[in-house]
């Protein structure tokens, strides 16, 4: 069974609150995800996502606020088009755009955090492993 690993960039004003709330609910989730809090989804560089995939992380989720709910004048939506192209690139190379999850929600919709992460885990488990892209003899740090 493929045990995927997920990295989450969560916007402090919505996504992160959702994650906290899932904790308060004492949801039971696989321990194979890590959260990096960001001010806004716009701050997530596409390169950082590639960096994560190159390091053997199977999927990256970016959680931001809803349309109109962004604290930064809709900066969150600026990321949509960037990630759209990044998905294209990942699809081209067979890595799979599915490895990048972009989700917009509000702080009140925390009940969905659990569902999103679980679905993402399942989706990633069904993908072929990234191994061919990870240099087998590279430097081990």
């Amino acid at each position: 069974m493929n045990q995927p690993r997920i990295l989450i960039f969560a916007c402090k004003w919505c996504g992160l609150i959702g994650a906290d709330a899932a904790g308060k609910k004492r949801a039971s989730l696989p321990a194979r995800f890590r959260v990096i809090p960001v001010e806004c989804a716009a701050l997530v560089e596409p390169d950082a996502i590639l960096r994560a995939l190159a390091g053997g992380i199977d999927g990256v989720a970016v959680l931001g606020c809803h349309s109109g709910g962004c604290r930064y004048n809709n900066a969150n939506h600026a990321s949509i088009k960037r990630f759209e192209l990044l998905k294209d690139l990942l699809d081209t190379t067979g890595i799979g755009g599915e490895r990048l999850l972009l989700s917009f929600g509000t702080a009140h919709e925390y009940h969905q955090f659990e569902e999103i992460i679980e679905n993402f885990f399942n989706e990633l488990a069904a993908l072929p492993p990234l191994d061919p892209w990870l240099s087998p003899f590279g430097v081990v740090s």
Binding site: A78, L90, T92, T93, I95, F104
Partner: protein, 294 residues
């Protein structure tokens, strides 16, 4: 038939020379950047400044001069004007450089040359001519997605494609030729040189960062000239990485790099404002909004 092709090429060359001559005579520009073939038959880029020099002007081989124009203009005194002989891709690259403030458009003149049909086929070019064609017959564009080899790399299941790409990318000898030869890559330093993004001191270069970061950085600027691919010593089909991103930009946002000097790249603007207000979210966005049943 061969004679016809040759005479066509000769006419095109003569026409180009005349335009260049006129530019120099009328002092529209201080120099004309093009290719020169010297007495020893060696072709190299050259800034033509005097009329007699123009005898040595040639149009082949395909040689992108955009970045060279930029460095010449940068190091020239105020008010220096340069005319550049450019093919379609070269012109688009110049426009992209202008849009990115690397070239001041007042200082640049272009002499547009259309590529031959053969060249278009070699380059898989969908637009083998500049917007302003001064010499040459316009050849019809080639749809890269119809090409056999392209389809091998872009079509088929994920797993196979992943292996296919990994197999060519792991040949990389990290020469940076793709970046160096790209007419648009101007950053100094470049992210590929930073060990946060790409591990140093080892070959092959990290595949998922070096190549994909490079490809992604050019997503909205790539003019599909293929210079990266031509410079690659190990035959990695780098141009194919760009094709689907270019297609998305064209189909969803009506944007093609290097066409309109005034149009900003769509990836710089808010999704909600382009191309028109209220565009639906792409389906792949797992938006909580749609699921909100509470």
């Amino acid at each position: 038939m061969v004679v016809a092709v040759w005479s066509g090429k000769l006419i095109m060359l003569e026409k180009t020379k005349n335009i260049a001559k006129q530019i120099l005579e009328e002092k529209k520009a201080n120099g004309v950047l093009g290719l020169m073939k010297n007495q020893r038959d060696i072709v190299q880029p050259h800034v033509f400044k005097r009329l007699p020099e123009l005898d040595a002007l040639v149009l082949e081989p395909k040689w992108l001069l955009a970045k060279l124009s930029m460095s010449i203009l940068r190091s020239s005194p105020e008010g220096y004007r340069l005319a550049v002989l450019c093919r379609g891709c070269d012109e688009r690259a110049l426009i992209e450089l202008t849009k990115r403030n690397q070239i001041e458009k007042e200082n640049l003149l272009t002499i547009g040359i259309a590529c031959s049909q053969e060249q278009a086929a070699i380059c898989l070019c969908d637009r083998p001519y500049p917007a302003k064609v001064d010499a040459g017959e316009i050849a019809s564009g080639v749809d890269p997605f119809q090409d056999e080899r392209v389809r091998e790399f872009l079509i088929g299941n994920d797993k196979k494609r992943m292996e296919k790409w990994a197999n060519v990318l792991k040949r990389c000898i990290k020469c940076y030729g793709c970046r160096n030869s790209c007419p648009i890559c101007v950053c100094e330093p470049c992210k590929l040189e930073d060990d946060v993004w790409v591990q140093r001191g080892d070959v092959p270069a990290e595949m998922a960062t070096f190549h994909l970061i490079r490809a992604f950085h050019l997503s909205d600027t790539c003019v599909a000239c293929g210079a990266c691919q031509e410079a690659c010593p190990v035959n990695i089909p780098l141009l194919y990485l760009q094709l689907s991103m270019r297609k998305t930009l064209k189909e969803k946002y009506g944007y093609e790099a290097g066409l309109d000097p005034e149009k900003k790249s769509p990836i710089l603007s808010d999704f909600l404002k382009e191309p028109e207000t209220g565009r639906e979210y792409p389906e792949w966005i797992n938006s909580l909004r749609e699921k909100d049943g509470h």
